[in-house]
């Protein structure tokens, strides 16, 4: 199964931040509904099983 670390929406947390943990990152996704666009961020780990929004990095 693909993991979050392969996803373009995975952004590692900088070491100096309060919620830093090794391999932890922000999963950031854009959403849009009738009221407009917004961006969501939730914590995931590199090893977290990827969700249906997985977007694999090409490079």
């Amino acid at each position: 199964m693909a993991k979050c670390e392969k996803c373009t929406f995975f952004f590692p947390i900088p070491e100096e931040d309060m919620d830093f943990e090794p391999d932890k990152g922000d999963c950031v996704r854009q959403q849009e509904d009738t009221k407009g666009k917004f961006w969501l961020s939730r914590p995931v780990f590199r090893s977290t099983e990827a969700c249906e929004h997985l977007s694999v990095q090409t490079s």
Binding site: M18, D19, F38, L40, S41, P43
Partner: protein, 813 residues
């Protein structure tokens, strides 16, 4: 003509257009799409299971940290102020640790999409909720009385309703990093003290609880800094990965910088201050626990930052227009904030989101005019954007500048119903006289909720509604005073002591004494439930973040629920005071003086809702009424308000003093109408009650606005925390060239008569009736209910009719 918003920028026009309003009507959210978020409940439950067995403050701190570390955060397009309390902009959060009933009510509603999971969560919490913990101290009969919401508001441990004035200044001035260092030093000092020789248990053992409290504060503050950093990262990631517009990218990078700086460090300018204030608001009112309100002296609090950014142009430089835009953004952010009131409170705030009320004007700590250019910018933003929230309370001081008073007038003239106006000198003096607040501190007061002043600043502010708040419902109290304490009309419950059947009363004194006995019983039950709730809060519902930002709590190592550094007890008497006064007046005159009817005849008529007794009803309807400068009715009113104050004064609450009553109504005058039988003022069963704390009954004030003011001025308002007066003014006059001068003269009369409060509706009968027919043309039409404003079209017809029914006063008359 309908009022139309004129947002000052294209951004705020877009934000207004797409605002995700979360108003309620009849206890239900008006807009489709509003949902119950599950993440907060899920995360606090997960943490509770792991930490059970630890001191409550540590459990609560780790619960908060688990939420802040893991909840989905979001930023919407165009936003300048970021952060929310749930995982999605259409959601409101749930609080399974508070009230079991309130949680179940929400879980079983159509707002909850995760019913199976939430049922499990609510059952898990059931034994730990403050509802379960508190109920054991009351008999089933007492719970039945309180939960019927007839003579008293159900207690906070079942409604889950609270209110708070956060100590914003401590966050804006210090930043959390410095406060973390200070608290860590206290822990180190305490540990060193515990090891001093010789050992003295009496001196030292108290440190153990303090160490727990301080450790909890550190956990909470670190989590908050991390949560702000999550927003900083999101804004930067959006700028660098998702957006092409260079202007928006630049804005997002600035937002990222701001969220890195605050609330971790002191605010540098107005942008930092607004963001830091918003984060603090979310945490204190919505994330750590739910509390209503938007209590703050905003112009005073923001003035140093406004001055830096707008006037001195030394940091986060901006123009006056930029500041207005930022305040418009704040209003929209508040408008789409999802609050999670229990059902009774949702019903009581018909047409609104929550009681978001900020305070402006008054004086500075040194007694000089407290209104400044920041005050004007806030008022201008309100006039432009046209939202019901946040409402504004304006402290009317004789020495306040006329320019600001003109801005106040502009908002009122547009029909917003706010600013509502409080007598500044009277309310400042009351804090000094009754609550021993030093004058310079008292001068910084703000409204805690609709109209109850409390101090602001770095310490000693109100932290919970078990300090001030909750209700007694006087019209129902009078009803049962005539029916031996038994509710024959609505609940079939013995609600109060057996004070006899009104049919057998032989003197007016017997009527009066029965009412007094019922009021006493209701007050004592209500106050006891608040103070029991307070103990449950400080034992089971510690608030480490709220404590961490209060200098007093940090100094003493105490939870904010426990520390009552500045007592501020008050208690509402909601909707119905004037029904009681008018009813007593009619009984006194028609039964005991004119002897036209007997009490037996009256009780028969009331029990049968005046059926077949229309002539008799009209006699009672046409008896002297409060609000006409009629000494006969006004004398009884004075006696009634004194009785209320004296009855509360008999009691001592948690914080060591007696509460002051506060006569007002919110939408309780609507909701409690159907629970109240026919009354001796000629009112039918199920008809709405009076719409304020001293507002004449609908249609009963016939002698013009000055007569109303004179009647109200006979109440000794200094004995009350507030006495709400609604007035409806002519749109034609208010919009005429002489509008401001007429209104200003009216306000000077109001002030000179020593009246506590006034708020206005300025909307024509024709517009309201037209809005009922074509609501889509009146989307920005606001009206004042009582203590808050609402979109007229969001109200149910029954509620709309009570606004139309108010007497339109002609100030020129």
């Amino acid at each position: 003509m309908p009022t139309v918003a004129t947002p000052s920028t294209e951004r705020t026009a877009r934000l207004k257009n797409r605002c995700r309003f979360k108003h309620v009507a009849g206890g239900e959210y008006v807009h489709a799409g509003v949902k119950a978020g599950v993440e907060r409940a899920r995360l606090i439950t997960e943490s509770h299971k792991k930490n059970i067995g630890n001191p409550n403050c540590i459990i609560r701190a780790r619960g908060l940290a688990n939420i802040l570390d893991n909840i989905t955060i979001h930023i919407q397009d165009d936003e300048l102020i970021v952060g929310a309390n749930t995982e999605h902009p259409d959601y409101f959060p749930m609080y399974p640790e508070l009230s079991y009933f309130a949680t179940v009510d929400m879980v079983e509603s159509h707002y909850c999409d995760h019913q199976e999971e939430m049922r499990e969560i609510s059952e898990y919490w059931r034994p730990y909720t403050i509802q379960t913990k508190a109920e054991k101290y009351f008999t089933p009969e007492e719970l039945g009385i309180m939960y019927s919401a007839t003579i008293v508001q159900p207690p906070m441990f079942v409604t889950a309703f609270s209110s708070i004035v956060p100590t914003y200044e401590a966050v804006l001035e210090d930043g959390l990093i410095k406060r973390i260092e200070d608290v860590e030093q206290k822990i180190a000092d305490a540990n060193a003290s515990l090891r001093e020789s010789p050992w003295n248990a009496q001196d030292k053992l108290g440190l153990l609880d303090k160490i727990d409290q301080w450790e909890a504060m550190v956990i909470a503050m670190k989590a908050v800094v991390g949560w702000a950093q999550r927003h900083a990262r999101l804004a930067k990631i959006m700028a660098e990965n998702f957006l092409a517009d260079p202007k928006r990218k630049e804005e997002l990078l600035e937002i990222s910088d701001i969220c890195r700086n605050v609330p971790a460090y002191p605010a540098r300018g107005l942008k930092d201050a607004m963001q830091s204030k918003w984060f603090t608001y979310l945490l204190c009112h919505s994330v750590e626990r739910y509390s209503s309100g938007y209590g703050q002296k905003e112009d005073k609090m923001l003035w140093p930052y406004y001055k830096k950014s707008v006037l001195d142009q030394t940091d986060q430089v901006m123009t006056y227009a930029d500041a207005v835009e930022l305040f418009e953004c704040e209003r929209l952010k508040v408008s789409e904030h999802g609050s999670t009131k229990g059902r009774q409170l949702r019903e009581f705030f018909a047409g609104s989101n929550d009681l978001f009320i900020l305070t402006l004007g008054g004086t500075n700590a040194d007694g000089t005019d407290g209104s400044n250019e920041c005050t004007n910018a806030i008022l201008e933003a309100a006039a432009n954007i046209v939202t019901t929230e946040p409402s504004i309370g304006f402290r009317w001081n004789e020495n306040g500048n006329v320019e600001t008073k003109k801005k106040v007038f502009e908002c009122i003239k547009k029909g917003f119903g706010f600013p509502s106006i409080k007598n500044d000198e009277m309310n400042t003096q009351q804090l000094v006289k009754y609550f021993n607040v030093p004058l310079d501190v008292a001068r910084d007061w703000a409204l805690v909720l609709c109209m109850s002043p409390g101090i602001t600043g770095r310490r000693g502010t109100q932290k919970t509604r078990s300090e001030g708040g909750s209700d007694v419902y006087p019209a129902k109290v009078m009803e049962i005073a005539l029916t031996n304490g038994f509710d024959e009309f609505f609940s079939n419950v013995q609600l109060g002591p057996e004070t006899g059947d009104g049919a057998n009363f032989k003197s007016f004194d017997e009527v009066w004494n029965a009412v007094k006995a019922q009021i006493r019983s209701a007050i004592e039950l209500s106050l006891r439930s608040k103070d029991v709730g307070r103990i449950m809060e400080l034992t089971h519902l510690c608030c480490p973040f709220i404590s961490a930002i209060d200098d007093g709590c940090v100094e003493k190592g105490m939870d904010a629920n426990a520390l009552a550094e500045v007592a501020n007890p008050w208690h509402n008497i909601i909707g119905g005071s004037v029904v009681v006064i008018d009813s007593m007046t009619a009984i006194k005159k028609l039964v005991f003086e004119d002897k036209k009817y007997t009490m037996a005849e009256l009780m028969d008529a009331l029990r049968n809702n005046w059926e077949g007794k229309e002539e008799m009803r009209l006699d009672f309807w046409n008896a002297p009424k409060f609000g006409n400068d009629d000494p006969y009715a006004d004398e009884l009113a004075t006696k009634y308000y004194d009785l209320i104050a004296d009855e509360w004064k008999r009691n001592t609450t948690y914080s060591g003093t007696y509460p002051l009553p506060l006569a007002q109504s919110v939408a309780g005058y609507i909701v409690n109408g159907p629970k109240t039988a026919a009354t001796a003022n000629g009112r039918h069963a199920g008809e709405a009650l009076d719409d304020g704390g001293s507002s004449p009954y609908m249609g009963c004030d016939k002698n013009g606005p000055t007569a109303v003011l004179k009647s109200v001025s006979k109440i000794d308002a200094s004995k009350h925390k507030g006495v709400l007066l609604n007035q409806r003014l002519s749109t034609v006059l208010m919009n005429s060239d002489a509008g401001f001068d007429l209104w200003h003269a009216y306000m000077k009369t109001w002030h000179s008569l020593g009246i506590d409060h006034v708020q206005f509706n300025v909307i024509s009968q024709e517009d309201m009736k037209a809005a009922q027919i074509e609501p889509e043309k009146y989307t920005d039409t606001l009206v004042r209910i009582a203590g808050y404003s609402a979109k007229f079209i969001d109200l149910a017809r029954y509620s709309q009719d009570t606004i139309i029914a108010r007497t339109e006063q002609d100030m020129a008359g």
